[in-house]
Symmetry: C2
Subunit: 475 residues, 2 copies
Amino acid sequence: MILDLKIDKNVQEPVYFQIYEQIRDLIASGALKGESKLPSIRALSKALGVNSVTVVTAYNMLEKDRYVYKRQGSGTFVISKGEDFLLNREQPMYFEPGELDMENEYDDEYIDFSISAPDPKLFSVKDFRQVMNEVLEEDGARAFMYQKSVGYRPLRDALVDYAANYGINCKSEDIYVVSGAQQGIDIMAKALVKSGDCVFVEQPTYSGAIAAFKSRGAKLVEVPLQKDGPGIKELEKLVRIYKPVLFYAMPNFHNPTGSIYSDRKKRYMLLLAKKYDFRILEDDYSGDLNYTDQKLLPIKAYDNNDRVIYLKSFSKIFMPGFRLAYMVIPEDIRRKAADAKIASDISTSGLMQRILCKYIQKGILEKHIKFLRKEFSVRYLEMVRAIKKTIRGASFFEPGGGLNLWVNLPDGISSQELYENCRDKKVIFSPGTFYFNDEKGQCYMRMSFAATNIDEIWKGLSIIGMEVEKLKNKY
Amino acid sequence: MILDLKIDKNVQEPVYFQIYEQIRDLIASGALKGESKLPSIRALSKALGVNSVTVVTAYNMLEKDRYVYKRQGSGTFVISKGEDFLLNREQPMYFEPGELDMENEYDDEYIDFSISAPDPKLFSVKDFRQVMNEVLEEDGARAFMYQKSVGYRPLRDALVDYAANYGINCKSEDIYVVSGAQQGIDIMAKALVKSGDCVFVEQPTYSGAIAAFKSRGAKLVEVPLQKDGPGIKELEKLVRIYKPVLFYAMPNFHNPTGSIYSDRKKRYMLLLAKKYDFRILEDDYSGDLNYTDQKLLPIKAYDNNDRVIYLKSFSKIFMPGFRLAYMVIPEDIRRKAADAKIASDISTSGLMQRILCKYIQKGILEKHIKFLRKEFSVRYLEMVRAIKKTIRGASFFEPGGGLNLWVNLPDGISSQELYENCRDKKVIFSPGTFYFNDEKGQCYMRMSFAATNIDEIWKGLSIIGMEVEKLKNKY
């Protein structure tokens, strides 16, 4: 196909721009449909009697502005309308309401299904005191000095074994300690993302990640999720079109949907990352809270080509107030990551690092995780039962792990309206609109059982169930 | 004066660009000298027979590219050559060596004049333990939950009175708690600085600030310092040329030089900030370590127009391992700052915040600061004496406060070479090259007495003095 373009060499507009504009208009008007192939460079330059560099320039502009994409070896194709996955919303500063407003306001009066940090009642202050005292006896005030910005060495050593429990082979040098997972995301955004770079996120995703990437001036592309991860063909096409530098993903017990990438898709992500030269920032926020015998490994466990930056928060399995997380970072980007950490806060509290180190060395953390896993698995099962019983017409995926259920509300119920009504009754959850760009979130709610006991689960859900019925009757 | 420009309306190049290029070339060749005035818009457009908008466009381009600057009401002037204060260096990841390498490596064997964090021996672990136990008794594991991202309310309340001690009138809502001063800088960079924006820093300055601003893609301009702050005329001119969004300053006991802005210059900075609509980020890292009866207030104390973001670290007067600082933030930028904090690490450790809160409430912090002031003033005086005695030919300003002396080495001694020689003898300091873009730092060393006792001061300095003599003899 040769396009019917009109080139006028006597006007001021450069020829490449005339070509760009006319093809752009043909696409916008629908005359050139999605997936149709543009003429080859050679054919078009010959037909128009222009230099091939001129056509290349025009095609590159079209690609940059995302009207077309290239498939290696087969040519340049028009991007279908309605396939613009670019997230154009303004910075959506929606956070988990409980986590941000919890100071004295909600905790006692409210039943809070929005917070995904563990119930403080599950944390042993006695253990903490003992560990703290041991640290102070051994190190005294030296525990309060600056640490190396990449982390306290004995903790990094201890984390090597810890990571091995999750199938990750690494050395101390690979491990960086950071002040919580949010900082980990922020640091990698600083290290890897320049203004205008494209970052992939799952749809829906954690809004704190969106905030960190947007703050760098990144272009965000939302990748739709199936139950077992992104659609393979679709993902490869998006990668070709948008050329991401980074894919931020939560492959196990995804937040908020709970979905779990299949092993096949985990490996496929790695193949793509290698082929198209991007990194995967794997946020393993609750992979260790697995309540079934399904074997789940992080993508990092399959990574033979240094494609994955692994990020593990201790907020869900220890306590969020410690502000501790660790990363496993490929060697070639370690210097950049260290510089970004220094520019962010110099170093993470040495005292907290020493405490976590001792928790691991003495086996207390392992015991605590086992305890939490047992406790949360009971709450998980009760939550599953309670939702089924109280919210008629709801449906949801049962991930068998994590701290949340992602509930598809009965037809026509708006999660935002339901949220407001329940909040008046002192029950809160995260409406799906916190996680989506557009209206897609209206039919979902994220229900966390991290901070609610069994009584609260049943009591809170019976209130939500009643409010759902009221809304059904309202319409 | 009408410039001799040649405009050709028949070429493809737009007329405004022809004007831009020819004036640019006249400046570059020296035909148009620094401070010469360009023709008025009206005169030039008449002389060239072009639309005045065309000339405006050309002048704006020249201004943007920093060939000219505008003085309100008087016209457009050529910027003198050799007056380019733009800091073009690559990200200089130089940090205080002690602070970053201190883990087990240096502390015992080395006499460390590079570290500006207090000697851990000055911190009472017993006090800490007691405060910590009180916090745990009162709040239990709730102390480990997420906090509001702007800070733990009782601490913010306590900081209102604390700030009042330093002449700052503010409300709890004005106060944000952050994870150390470096994070405060990073957050304000995120909140206020977009890629391409201009940020002023003092010359020399703290490299952690440079790192944070550079990470945002800021253009940095270095403002030379006199003993009592920036030169007034020079500063106003730089502001006119570069139009900063932010001026990062340490007006009391500046790091590294120790210089102190005069009251007149503090007020003048505020006038400029109002007139030219920029903010001042005031890093008051050691204003409370004042060993004389000179009355020193932060710029924030004079600020009636919400121009100053005040940033106060607790690393120098408490311990750096707490990772605590606070900011006083003008109301109109508070939302942006809160968003930036959330994207950075959600919130600062609630446990650490509660501990600091109790330290303040019980008066322990005040007592501790008095103790440190006394202790450091002794070290300060010994350091002054020791340098005078041991380094023949050195000169330095005696600030009467802070934690550093900025020593001008005898002629011809390279601070980098001296550093390397002393390091072999297990004495370290910060060479001036850590703080400057170019060779200017070669003749300076920053000597901190924060972590060295009197014996170490004399022992360390006698070694440095001998190494200086060896270098003198070498040339």
